[in-house]
Subunit: 169 residues, 6 copies
Amino acid sequence: MEEQSLRLAVYPGTFDPLTNGHISLVRRGLDVFDRIVLAIARDTYKKPLFSLQERKEMAQEAFAGNPGVVVETFSGLLVDYVDWCGAKVILRGLRANSDFEYEFQMALMNRRLKRDIHTMFMMTDYKWLFTSSSIIKQTAEAGGDVQGLVPDIVWQQLKIRYGIQNHVS
Amino acid sequence: MEEQSLRLAVYPGTFDPLTNGHISLVRRGLDVFDRIVLAIARDTYKKPLFSLQERKEMAQEAFAGNPGVVVETFSGLLVDYVDWCGAKVILRGLRANSDFEYEFQMALMNRRLKRDIHTMFMMTDYKWLFTSSSIIKQTAEAGGDVQGLVPDIVWQQLKIRYGIQNHVS
Amino acid sequence: MEEQSLRLAVYPGTFDPLTNGHISLVRRGLDVFDRIVLAIARDTYKKPLFSLQERKEMAQEAFAGNPGVVVETFSGLLVDYVDWCGAKVILRGLRANSDFEYEFQMALMNRRLKRDIHTMFMMTDYKWLFTSSSIIKQTAEAGGDVQGLVPDIVWQQLKIRYGIQNHVS
Amino acid sequence: MEEQSLRLAVYPGTFDPLTNGHISLVRRGLDVFDRIVLAIARDTYKKPLFSLQERKEMAQEAFAGNPGVVVETFSGLLVDYVDWCGAKVILRGLRANSDFEYEFQMALMNRRLKRDIHTMFMMTDYKWLFTSSSIIKQTAEAGGDVQGLVPDIVWQQLKIRYGIQNHVS
Amino acid sequence: MEEQSLRLAVYPGTFDPLTNGHISLVRRGLDVFDRIVLAIARDTYKKPLFSLQERKEMAQEAFAGNPGVVVETFSGLLVDYVDWCGAKVILRGLRANSDFEYEFQMALMNRRLKRDIHTMFMMTDYKWLFTSSSIIKQTAEAGGDVQGLVPDIVWQQLKIRYGIQNHVS
Amino acid sequence: MEEQSLRLAVYPGTFDPLTNGHISLVRRGLDVFDRIVLAIARDTYKKPLFSLQERKEMAQEAFAGNPGVVVETFSGLLVDYVDWCGAKVILRGLRANSDFEYEFQMALMNRRLKRDIHTMFMMTDYKWLFTSSSIIKQTAEAGGDVQGLVPDIVWQQLKIRYGIQNHVS
């Protein structure tokens, strides 16, 4: 039925790894949509730190108990996947100017590929403005404590990956 | 009922005057929302070219026959108005980087004022990237033909305002 | 003596009105400098909401009991004033891209006017990213509650100016 | 004849007042075009400091002896004026990101109005990056010495306007 | 002879692959210049999808029958190549803010290397704003149809590279 | 003692290689701080052109005879290193908008990691706006003369690396 597709949004990304910024965006999205598919891209331009399976498991654990969120993986063209889900909306976060141009370009291309699928943007909460997956990895790799910026499961995995000792603080 | 508010979005602005870019955004918004309130701000920082009443009448004529669009005016705090409408979503268009920062600032402030109202952005179609109300007025004032960039009713009014003769082209 | 000038910074602005973002920047600046002169510009490009005297009194009250902060007013060329203070550093906050270019231009011009005076920038804390004096005034004028974004004395004055009733929330 | 129009460019602006940045751009443009029309806009959005006649006289004096530069004034639509000149090229300087978006919007609008007139941009020399007419006026108004950033005739006029005494430096 | 060099412009790039945005820019450039050398860089920072020879052949086919366009390859310093061509102008397209800073930096460096060679920018037509070579490849790799955004010969090659089946649409 | 830490700043970077822009920033920093530690990062995201040891030796030679500058290398978390130095200030240069967002993100993250360490920015002198280490390497690799943009020792090394012949100009 028409109505269901309206209330479903796909939130695509690499999520390598999931951060609290992503989680905050999903929570805000759930005030507008009934269900959000967190769609983890199989294909990434840089070799990811975590495998697709690891990224999926961490996201599933982070959203366990939240029936409105479905964690999936996809490959190929995003708009085909969104269409296959029966969704009309791609949800994306905007954080900074440099995001803006890439997102703009992608939104226009996706619109060209499928005109009835719309990209909608929500602003990332200001608390998470400095919390990109890249800077999280860069900081953890140098031994920095990123607890509180990522879900617990991600922090545990980052400590294992980078051999970070527990701080006694 | 909860469900209705989900499908209602408020699209606020000065609309001095309405352009085809605004109309395109409303049309795309109607693929996602059941009803869009085009909310014309009574208070503007620069003295508007058209009165509130004129801006409302032009918008009403442009959307005549479209039952999904309601043209209203508002004053005071936007989030209070959105709340009064029973809506949870403020819809805004993004066009360029310079829009981005102002929009970001406003979205954060509005979120601070009412945490359960969300600003959602859709990209303006690339055809209307250069079609701001300001540049329309600036061009028409210099005698330029902006037909095709604004609804007919707006073009008629701009010609009257600026004494533009009919081009025989 | 040479050493004292090193530890003195001038933080110029319109402060119409002072916000918690300004206060946060001064506090952070005091970790680096011994004394900060909050220098309120007499001349502003837009007519200010508060008179120079009102802006000075609100700032003085906000920093009462903080011996490291001196609230002054100035007119004329900023670098002449900084020189007269015996300072070598102009302190400025950076908040967003659009600040950046104007600040860059001013810093280069000031450097041209006096080569031994340096502009140093500190980032505004992310909590105050959306707290410009303009948006504070714009929100308060529409009846919005900006308590917590400005010092109490400023909030009291804004309520008087804009006839805002006390919320019972 | 076709060939002449190729070698002619119109460099439009307010030139309130002409700066050394403008002069540098014209000099560089003359390496590419045979003749450049410096076209001073009669209509400005802010009230100009100097009258149209004063702006024209200062520009004429600054380019005296340079047969490749013609100083003119225009009103109405820029592309009509460019067409009337028999030129195909509008020359503009780019200085910073914030210029970019406005210039982009104007170039697209002008292209829409007359498809065979092209806007071409040259980068302002880095020496003049901080030399806008606005900051020149702002600095001179506060009593700052902008000699070397503007032609002599402009500096003389600015001193008269703002009552700047001769520095003995 | 001096005059010929004025009418010649070099349009350098990687062209991996050529898009309709590039073609549109060349067409607009030919309204201003008599001849445009499309100069394909041998050296690229990322490994190109198509070999230098393939990129050249595709460009030659796309511009076949257009006597004003010469497709060449070059290596080494761009300004040396431009000088060797007897040209004074480097032509570049501008598409977005993020292009701007890189282009600005390159234009200043090229000017430092050879002061009498000038970089001139034309805005990319709004229709091609979202058509970078990167996004074309990224979309085609995921199986997306980019027909209409690139010349036919490029689309044929992309289908072969990425194993895209013919859509029956 | 408290006072000493105030006068010490750490200027971190990859310095691959050191440019005259870096040197200019250090010189300006020495007007504000008593001592500046040029801290060369062992870990870089891209494989550096010069080894850590080479980068250190070139920097040491460039600052030989300047007792206010100490050249060091560091690995791990920057704020830990700054803390270990007994410094409270991280000094960074700002050159362009695209720098700005990355710097902003890093400054916020570093502040989160250690709240009493402050990042302070100085604008790069306009003469060095186009002098990044990347463009220097890119230009030298193509055989371009970058003398005057880097210290002599760096220019000698770049010539060796890229097999640049001495120009007789």
